[in-house]
Symmetry: C2
Subunit: 354 residues, 2 copies
DNA sequence: TTGTACGCGTTATCAT
DNA sequence: ATGATAACGCGTACAA
């Protein structure tokens, strides 16, 4: 019953091998795989048996080449160490996986040059769509993307001049809103702690500076930053230098993310600084620990997973030629007030969370 | 000066277009890209100019098909929500990126059936190597992998019968060692909290059961588990049921990971249970927060990033036909003792960390 | 050093 | 419903 294979080169089973085994043309085998309903039941089952018997696995490279449909979506993020990006990627994987797309993920390490190189890599895979982070591309990279003529979504922040589609939120407004919240709680000496200082963290900081300046309360000594990646440890370190630089005269701190905020919180506890009585702390991103640590940490919640989902949906919608209602989507944000910024008079009330 | 393109189908620039523009054969263009030193300087620069002018981007699908070298490494992990896997993936990306390989990452969601489907997807991309998690594959998937004839590394745990290469550590030993540590601190009523209960968590639990039984201290009421994914919140919930089930008679808890341990710690604090005086807590994975939370959390450190690096290196080594000294690598683990399990007499000493 | 011929494994298109 | 033929874009192997 066994047919002899023609292709003997690499003992790889091809469409032709299956066709030979099933006594049909290669085209029929191709149809069984891609358009099963266009094949009669008898033939389909015969072919399927041959496929199973031989353990045939289609060669996607050949398929992509012939059909110019790769089923690949390229995704570029700056880091895998940051839960923020990983959460977005999770959303992308969820939607793209369900839709049958493969995700080719690359890590730019916050470098536009590295990003340009990786975008070339992505484009050489003939992706059907692209999701990239932010708007800080090199000129060359920008040209590459514009010439690619495939759906593209820039995520994580709102851009003035997006290449194609854009989804994010205003980091500047969020930063200013945090300051407004802290001012409303009666704080005056409000510090800022930031690390890595990428485009988005800088926007949060500018929001902070703008709002605090407007209130006539800004001083440069209130800012403590580092180019290093954020971490809990770095948060503690920066908090100590902030305190030192202001001789202890700080009554609130806005941390550019929750890792830094937790570091600040833990360090303050070790310094026997009462939170929020002596020091209020507000983080950013609202990671899970924020709601559970003692005292619970006020933070800015952003729908990261949802952003990934939405970005993927925009690509798919675009690919299915459906009209895109809006190419620019503002995901917004929400300040989750918790114990770390409640003013003393509120402390006996139960904090509303979620 | 402009040459007319032959391929007019999709305004995609191909090797032929570049060749025409540079007045050379397509093969020469191919060489400029893949073996530049085999082309004379004059021609190389002329061709490079044409490449730049036209914005040519090689078609990797065609290249893979013709050369049977895809430059793709497939990676399958069960979840992106768990920092443990993300850290391993980071290590893989580091090494594979530097070596010029693309990483195709898939998420099996802890389902062997989903894994089988995704392994098919990976194989259809003609990957040159594969990295997958654990040894819990379906029979079919196992066959697929064995027949693939490409380097394969199974990561995260030590396997009795690996398909090809294997790198991980013994979760069973680690679980038993944690119990030994807690016993040495004088604890007797040692609870276990676990969630998701995948193969690796189950091995940790069996290590716990074995060691505690050996000490004649095991009771089923000391175990609290849930099939849900781990989270800080779930840690708190499980801790409360553990306490309830034992009427408060628990003096130490071994949590299967640090999220659960943090949940337990924070919940215990809210219940005014003194740590470690009234309750010792040991986590697993040694995430960054463990060393910084107050009191600091004892945890089991495992070189996740390094495991990813090593797995990638094994693949690359294997691909370059270098002999593999050992196909099975034990990464080991280390219990990082911190304040959460120090017995009272040790409390005034400074805890050694790192 | 450069070029020619062919094939990689699949699918689009047109016939039957 | 099924098949024959011709690409898809590139690299291998050999020739010049």
């Amino acid at each position: 019953m066994q047919k002899i294979k023609l292709a003997v080169n690499d003992n790889k089973i091809t469409l032709v091998d299956v066709a030979l085994a099933a006594n049909v043309s290669p085209m029929t085998v191709s149809r069984v795989i891609n358009q099963p309903n266009k094949v009669s039941d008898v033939v389909r089952m015969k072919v399927q048996k041959a496929i199973d018997d031989l353990g045939y696995i289609p060669n996607q490279n050949a398929s992509s080449l012939a059909s110019s449909r790769s089923g690949v979506i390229g995704v570029a993020i700056p880091s895998l160490s940051n839960v923020v990006f990983v959460d977005v990627v999770r959303g992308i994987y969820k939607v793209m996986g369900d839709a049958g797309y493969k995700v080719l993920l690359v890590n730019t390490q916050y470098s536009p040059l590295e990003e340009e190189k990786l975008v070339r890599t992505l484009l050489s895979q003939s992706p059907e769509g692209l999701i990239i982070t932010g708007g800080d591309q090199t000129r060359t990279c920008n040209h590459l993307l514009r010439n690619a003529r495939i759906p593209l979504v820039q995520i994580m922040e709102l851009l003035a001049d997006p290449i194609d589609m854009n989804i994010g939120f205003s980091h500047h407004l969020a930063g200013a809103d945090v300051v407004a919240h802290l001012l409303a709680q009666g704080h005056r000496r409000i510090g800022f702690i930031g690390a890595r200082m990428d485009s988005r963290v800088q926007q949060r900081m500018r929001g902070y500076v703008t709002a605090l300046t407007q209130a006539g309360l800004f001083e440069t000594s209130l800012i403590a930053t580092s180019p290093e990646p954020s971490s809990i440890a770095l948060g503690g370190t920066l908090f100590k230098s902030l305190i030192a630089a202001n001789e202890g005269n700080v009554d609130a701190v806005f941390c550019a993310n929750d890792d830094l905020a937790l570091g600040t919180l833990f360090e303050a506890q070790r310094m026997n600084i009462a939170i929020p009585q002596q020091l209020a702390i507000c983080g950013f991103n609202d990671i899970e620990a924020a709601a559970h640590v003692n005292p619970s940490l006020t933070s800015v919640a952003v729908g990261r997973y949802e952003m990934g989902v939405k970005a993927a949906e925009l690509i798919i919608q675009s690919l299915s030629k459906q009209p895109i209602e809006q190419k620019k989507v503002d995901m917004g944000y929400a300040i989750k007030q918790r114990a770390s910024t409640s003013r003393p008079s509120n402390l006996n009330k139960r904090n509303i969370d979620e």
